[in-house]
Symmetry: C2
Subunit: 349 residues, 2 copies
DNA sequence: CTCTTTTGTGAAAGCGCGTTTATTTTTCAA
DNA sequence: TTGAAAAATAAACGCGCTTTCACAAAAGAG
């Protein structure tokens, strides 16, 4: 069924059918109704490719999730408590705005070619990228395409270096620095002086922010920044578990840990439990992200909440707006974070 | 950059460029190399819409996740331990086969129109549908489109009723009946005689299979099928928690529960813990799905494992094959399930 | 060295729709 | 009745690519 068939059945011209479909004003209500009736009776839907070729948009957004997990063990993204709610909300919000979502996972630079391809082949009008690490090559490659894209959780300064003649980019961030500082300050106020840091990957925006906030808050409060910061946690539960266990068995045991994400906080709790340490009796733990299980644990995990829903919605609205209005000026939004106090932190003995 | 530009730069005609791109045999190696060089130098990618209009496929698969969660509280699909691994594996497998994935969540019959739209507008070559409940309307609507689709976890008999002149459908199932029967038989072998069932939604294929397996296995072993089967669990942890708590406070307390999925088993464990019942000392619990946390709990949950990875891969391969070879004959695959014995089941006191 | 095959190549048509232009038909006011 | 404005149409073009068909060049046969 093509528009020509509809025209014939409705007894009008193809031009009129097109005007009806695209909601043009200069078609009287009576004609419109007549045409709409035929369209609905025949379940006609205009061919997307033909529309695009004739100058309309694809009405599709690319959603690219960049994973640092190796390809051998890929089952981690959608089950990852950080990415999953982003993906879910973005898909729903974009859909509700009348756009479709092309989803793609990126495990390697090779996979990344597919992202460029999707843009160049005009499969999508714009893209949302989440999980991008500090990577000049990738970002520049995308920026060069001069098509709208939104980065979630990225270093604005880094992006600005790649601005070309026009701006097609936006960044959605959360105030991780402030959130982490709140958590650390909270631990200090409880009386902790020896606080350990379980850091995430420092080539991510949030990893760096949370790290810096820890160090600077400690210094600001005239506390000693520990030498044995755990750097190889990589945001992964198992890694944190191993590192924390090792640290706890040494002499210099901290009375509290600030973990750069909840997954690693869970790993730390695993380690404590295994060594027979009470939480929060013997050791306090604060996390970051406030993943759903955080509140269901016992003891429930004190954590910093990320406004994932709001960030996702913002990303979706941003990209759709950019697609519809062509390029817009560069913009960036930073959402507030919030310390959720639960049961895993107490005064030191 | 269009194919014409490439043709000019390479000193050939557009036809030749097209032949190179589509890997036609009748172009000599020398010409091919010359054209490829220009293509790569200019990062040329053919416009997808134009290709489709000229008769090629979209190289895109629709992935439709049907949720029973209400729209008010939609954040459940990708964080749902059942759907998430399916989505993840399907996306990756389809991508690796050179296809893109259009993902869409369906919360209502209204959303479902979007599924039809995606097919009719020729945005996708075929679709994978997961989470479809027994719903003649929806299934028939899809079947009528005469485009390839794969249903995961669906009643084959029901689908067969909607076959039209040609077959474009395939079904991927797991042997839930056998798995559930194994679990129930295991409980019986441990010596349990009063076994409770926490059932899932009976309008899903897996819900019915697991229910029937329970009832028939009990009868087969000459045990009394309890009157108070929990029917309103709906596969949801919280609902199961409430129902189990109520049941446990009544006189007729079973010595074991078989839960139609792990989420509800978790709810049952919540209830037991709250009432001070030891697992597996006072009460045994077996679940279904073997979600990742099952093995991390203490006590670790005995459960029936679903070969999600294999099922997802099969679905992906199936749909791509169907898209490339046009329609194929109707096919269905049923994957084996496996009882994973852990710590939540023991002999009754 | 001609005459067929084979191989390589290009011109042109067509995919389904949107848009524009020139033209015809209808409507309504004067 | 006339004239202007509004509504609708037909026809043509273009979007970027694939594909068919016809033709030219190269290769092989006699």
């Amino acid at each position: 069924m093509r528009s020509e068939d509809i025209a014939r059945l409705a007894g009008v011209s193809r031009s009129t059918v097109s005007r009806v479909i695209n909601n043009y004003s200069n078609v009287p209500e009576k004609t419109r109704a007549k045409v709409m009736k035929v369209i609905e009776e025949n379940h006609y839907e205009p061919n997307t490719s033909a529309r695009v070729l004739a100058g309309k948009g694809m009405n599709t957004i690319g959603l690219f999730v960049i994973s640092t997990a190796d390809k051998q063990n890929p089952n981690r993204i959608y089950q990852n408590n950080y990415f999953a709610p982003f993906v879910e909300t973005i898909v729903d919000t974009v859909n509700r705005m009348g756009y479709y979502v092309l989803i793609h996972t990126v495990y390697s630079e090779d996979d990344f070619l597919k992202v460029k391809q999707a843009f160049l082949q005009k499969r999508i009008d714009g893209g949302i990228i989440i999980g991008m690490e500090k990577n000049a090559g990738m970002v520049h490659a995308i920026a060069k395409l001069e098509l709208p894209f939104v980065l979630i959780d990225y270093d604005i300064a880094e992006l600005l270096e790649h601005r070309l003649d026009k701006d097609y980019a936006a960044v959605i961030n959360s105030k991780d620095y402030e959130g982490a500082a709140m958590a650390v300050r909270y631990l200090i106020e409880l009386g902790h002086e020896h606080i350990g840091l379980i850091s995430g990957r420092l080539n991510t925006q949030s990893g760096r922010q949370r790290y810096q906030a820890f160090v600077e808050t400690m210094e600001e409060q005239r506390l000693e920044v520990p030498e044995e910061i755990i750097l190889s946690g990589e945001f992964i539960r198992q890694k944190a578990y191993e590192e924390v266990k090792q640290l706890l068995m040494s002499r210099k045991r901290p009375t509290a840990f600030f973990s750069a994400n909840d997954e690693m906080a869970l790993g730390a709790m695993d380690a404590c439990r295994e060594l027979g340490l009470q939480i929060p009796g013997d050791i306090s733990i604060a996390g970051f992200d406030d993943i759903p299980v955080a509140s269901q644990l016992s003891p429930a995990l004190t954590s910093v909440r990320l406004p994932i829903y709001e960030m996702s919605q913002a990303a979706a609205h941003h990209i759709v707006t950019m697609c519809e209005e062509g390029s817009t000026s560069f913009s960036t939004v930073s959402f507030p974070t919030q310390l959720i106090v639960r049961e895993t932190c107490a005064e030191p003995k």
